[in-house]
Point group: C2
Chain length 84, copies 2
């Protein structure tokens, strides 16, 4: 069994309207120190062992579904866990 | 200047319909090894130094705006960066 953490972030040159909205809200709550906010996704997947390589599997899933690679970058961490 | 990474995740006992939808999509793409998907948010904030403690500041922002602490947990990492 694997626990996989996937981080999907907008590419640097892509505008982030959601992040801007959060920044404005933080400013109106008096947190004016905040200069920039970028919002991404964080996914935790539980994956069973199979004959496929876990690394390939996760990369494949990111490319096909979890990230939109035109505007997003992704990175992931794989941790093997022993089932209880 | 600080770079702060905030991870917001649903509490364990809270249902995650978005995660379930992603799991179903992965299954229909033949990734049947995937047993569970939980989706959270990942935020990168750039914050200027001020007289407030950065740790308190970030905790405050999470409690007030970035996370809904009734159903979500949060954790954060603070990194000090030297402005170029």
């Amino acid at each position: 069994m694997y626990k996989v953490k996937v981080y999907v972030t907008l590419r640097e040159n892509v505008l982030d309207p959601q992040g801007n909205a959060v920044k404005q809200s933080l400013h109106s709550l008096s947190y004016r120190e905040v200069k920039d906010v970028r919002i991404g996704k964080f996914m935790e997947l539980t994956i069973e062992k199979s004959e496929r390589s876990i690394d390939e599997l996760v990369r494949d899933m990111c490319e096909k579904l979890l990230a939109n690679t035109v505007i997003e970058d992704y990175r992931y961490e794989i941790e093997e866990v022993v089932a209880p």
